[in-house]
Amino acid sequence: MDFQLTPEQQALKNEFEKFFSEEIKNAPPNWSGNLMALFESDENWAYHRSVADKLGEKGWLSLPWPKKYGGQEHSYFEQLLFNEVRAYYRVPGVDMWGPQIVAPSILEHGSEEIKNTWLPRISRGEINWCQGWSEPNAGSDLASLATKAVENGDDYVLNGQKIWTSGAHRADHMFLMARTDPDVPKHKGITYFLTDIDKPGITIRELLFMHKKRDYNEVFFDNFRIPKKNIVGDINKGWYVTMAGINFERSMIGSVSELQGELEELVELCKGTERNGKTLAKDPLVRQKLAQLAIELEAAKNWAYYVSHLQSKGQNVPAESSAAKWFSSELTVRFANTVIEIMGLYGTLKEGSKWAMLDGRFEDMCQISLGITIAGGTTETMKNIISWMGLKLPR
């Protein structure tokens, strides 16, 4: 067991450090780096786009792909280092879906034509994706999805509704699943499509988050046409294409690393904030709480490294990565709520309030983090995966 980075890993990490510590200086004035920050204003979106272009140029959006398709053939571990550093500096520039969800599906199941069409565009960072998976009645039970795609000439014609479509209002493309055969067991009649969304037959409606920010959307298809050539994998085999898409760097290092940066700011804040005649930093309860967060972060970080290590050895680790998802998303909720407890009344003030602390980031985080415990598999689903796939408990 050796926790030392290899010289090559260290060099690469240094490169990431250098880039992102510089790049954050280009952030627009109100850039919070929070989860939805990139969608919040045109300025923020432009910042995201400009970083994406640079990352594409550097080849950092395709670190683990085969060289043949423009990748760097790095392992998941190098991907982890990239994700760690970027999140620490709260720099955007990586599409939430393209490099790590869509690309692995294409790499495993796409035809050469699909690969040659889409992978270069993803690695250049030029596509802004949104995800068309969940539906109102297909949440945790995703395979129940009801959006129908019916063959019609060279196209499929879609009708139905998607929900929780993060960033659809900023995106130009969507990857989605639709039912192409209603007469077979539910996993076996689903097809995986790629499509641009700047054409008729699709309506995107905002679905605001509880604190009124826009991340989610509802998406409605009304005879929306997708050419057959945009199907990834075989007809009716979309569920398995999707499963390949969960084969990305799943350690959750990003959440953890972002919080690590926040913790460092918090320590400084507590040292400079007086309450009842002494600094918060001197309050034994505050000390215990912040120490506990530091411990959980260090633990989550080590777990992320472990998950990534296993993945880089080629292992499929559903239980371990589910534990990472569960632990670090719940940690984010706990973190934000703990900070509000520490800040007291000040902690509830929003971004932009004259008296808000740390720009009200934690007021935002204590809400937005709820989404993280649900999206991409709820905490309860993560526990099911651990129980069934990790512990082999009976269903």
Partner: protein, 377 residues
């Protein structure tokens, strides 16, 4: 001992439910949240007509002469409905006027409050962000027949619609005992020198910063004796803490009821999610912990109503209700899943309010410290 609700309490509850169903839909909550003022004259008048504003004010001052426990029942329903009008602020300010005001003050102020003609805002907390006496640095200095107030009040609810403030200011500095030297004043909100700036906070309740710069008030506006304001405020803070518990527990009731209903209705993998053990575990904990916190709240409220010492029980109730409401609304979001995180769903209204209410009138940490003192530590 009889732990049943009285007939009047039951009537108050029924009336409040009907009122909310009729005048106060959740869509209005969202509207009020997004407006800077967040007030509806017609609803306010209706509430006044029902006697709510003067519920605990004696009939001789134009009130109903009801008791504190009935008020608690009413506040539960308000919490359940996310009632945002400045009822809470006004009523808690009426209590010290009733308890410590002169006959003239009562005659002047209480009927107006009862009739809904005078909205009050409590100007107590400051940038020190504490409910302890030591946190009061706003000064009131005598000047002939007046006092001149200078200072910054922070986290002040409903200043944007208030006709008057009940303001705590320091008239004397006693380092050894900061509870000495605080005086209460009724201040006209239109007085020159008052500057109100909105603060946006998690619950979108109407908080403000209120700066008093050379604000003059007449000596007659003093509630209670000079320098003797803190005992009055202390009582008010106890009443307010329990009242806040009632709002929280009303909200918690909404949540348990609605989570249970959703768990029965929402189907995933061919079964209602409420049939899964992990969801049953969440829901049974929610139901039990909310119920338990609520009984403690009633006990504390009863003690408050009796008028005797209740500092320990109030602190206990506030701490437990706050913790339970926070943790249960967290679980509630998990029951509803994605939809519960949206603006269009009601769950978020409660999740956000839980985080705000926990800190108002004593956060759990300071309340536990109070309990520690009271049990002899």
């Amino acid at each position: 001992m009889d732990l049943n609700f009285t007939e009047t309490q039951d009537i108050v509850r029924t009336t409040a439910r009907e009122f909310m169903a009729r005048y106060y839909p959740k869509s209005l909550v969202r509207e009020l949240e997004e407006e800077p003022i967040g007030f509806r004259e017609d609803i306010w008048k209706e509430a006044a007509n029902l006697g709510w504003l003067g519920w605990v004010i004696p009939e001789e001052y134009g009130g109903v002469g009801g008791d504190f426990l009935e008020l608690i029942v009413l506040l539960e329903e308000m919490g359940k409905a996310c009632f945002m009008l400045p009822f809470f602020s006004t009523v808690i300010c009426s209590l010290p006027i009733l308890a410590a005001g002169t006959k003239e003050q009562k005659e002047e102020l209480l009927p107006k409050i009862a009739q809904g003609e005078m909205i009050f805002s409590l100007a107590f907390t400051e940038p020190s962000a504490t409910y302890e006496a030591a946190g009061i640095e706003t000064k009131a200095v005598a000047d002939g027949n007046d006092y001149v107030i200078n200072g910054t009040k922070l986290f002040i609810h409903d200043a944007q619609v208030a006709h008057s403030f009940l303001c705590a200011a320091r008239t004397e500095t006693d380092k050894a005992n900061p509870e000495n030297g605080i005086t209460l004043f009724v201040v006209d909100a239109k007085s020159p020198g008052i500057k109100i700036t909105p603060l946006e906070a998690i619950a979108d309740d109407k908080q403000t910063e209120v700066i008093f710069k050379d604000v003059k008030v007449s000596k007659d506006a003093m509630i209670g004796e000079i320098n003797q304001g803190f005992p009055i405020i202390k009582r008010l803070l106890e009443q307010a803490a329990v009242a806040k518990c009632a709002e929280m527990m009303g909200g918690a009731d909404w949540m348990v009821e609605n989570c249970v209903a959703y768990a029965i209705e929402r189907v995933q993998y061919g079964k209602p999610i409420g049939s899964y053990g992990i969801i049953q575990s969440y829901l049974s904990e929610m139901w039990a912990e909310v119920g338990i916190a609520k009984r403690l709240m009633y006990y504390a409220a009863w003690l408050v109503a009796q008028g005797g010492p209740c500092a320990k029980e109030v602190a206990m109730a506030k701490s437990l209700a706050s913790e339970v409401y926070r943790s249960q609304t967290r679980m509630g979001v998990q029951i509803f899943g994605g939809i519960g995180t949206t603006r269009e769903h009601d769950m978020g209204l409660y999740y956000r309010r839980a985080r705000q209410a926990a800190l108002l009138f004593g956060d759990p940490i300071s309340m536990r410290e109070r309990v520690a003192q009271e049990i002899g530590l």
